[in-house]
Symmetry: C2
């Protein structure tokens, strides 16, 4: 354990300073809200990357690859439950966000929409495992509509 | 299906244009290599966010919360296998990356180190499920050392 702690010390110092809320006070450190927004955007990037080929397959713009589709569906199902943590109260009003401020007055509705995305993602992963092309595509559209339902209400236009 | 396709159309247009390699040609679109780097950085952000509280717990800077630790360990085990795809040949030489260029001449070694991280992450998630504090902390340090082993060789200093 001691050798490991030694090897680990420099990485730990970086990680701790970057990631434990309230542990740093330097003026150039991001606020907890800014950190949450960065996490949120990163999560969406990872989701969108994996959504892309699925979207192309679902719309017959790429050949349907059941294994690839299922792998990405599994990832989406793993990623969407991580989103809730990226909308803490501390992130209210943080700059450079497309989140409409009315979300903070409609938190229960927002959370329900997010849960709907989690639920649809879980179904998508289950259906994709079967390799059924039509059912997989339908489950993808259902998941994409869960995205859109929330974006329509709470995401500012590009 | 038709109603869903209608609802989905605008989101699909955005996703397709953002994410399907080679489908867009506008000059201001990121290259495939730039897109991969953005995905890579996003993945590491998501990993680091989840690593933070685990790191603090492993070093006794936060109380050990077995359920929270296990949930984040599970996430790490889900995320690390996504990293390999973020280092495609197209990303060689892309600006704003801390990846040392020598990686491209040592790809097998790099891939082995990445696989080691995937393996250690999987062990970490398994151990964390048991709730055993000492074993969980040791597995965390083993995973962090897998990070460090690759960073020492292939990541430029900050």
């Amino acid at each position: 354990m001691r050798a490991n702690r030694f090897l680990f010390s420099s990485l730990a110092a970086v990680l701790i300073s970057m990631t434990v809320v309230g542990m740093t006070t330097a003026a150039d450190q991001p606020t907890p809200g800014e950190r949450a927004l960065k996490y949120r955007k990163s999560l969406y990037q990872v989701i969108v990357w994996n959504f892309g080929p699925m979207s192309a397959m679902a719309q017959d713009k790429m050949p349907f690859d059941p294994a690839g589709f299922a792998e990405r569906a599994q990832r989406i199902a793993q990623l969407t439950p991580m989103l809730a943590e990226s909308y803490p109260p501390e992130s209210k009003g943080v700059a450079d966000s497309k989140l409409k401020s009315k979300m903070w007055d409609n938190r229960a509705d927002f959370d329900a929409k997010l849960q709907d995305l989690v639920d649809e993602s879980a179904k998508l992963a289950q259906v994709a495992k079967t390799g059924d092309e039509a059912a997989s595509k339908q489950a993808f559209f259902d998941t994409a509509n869960a995205c859109k339902s929330c974006h329509d209400e709470y995401k500012a236009d590009d």
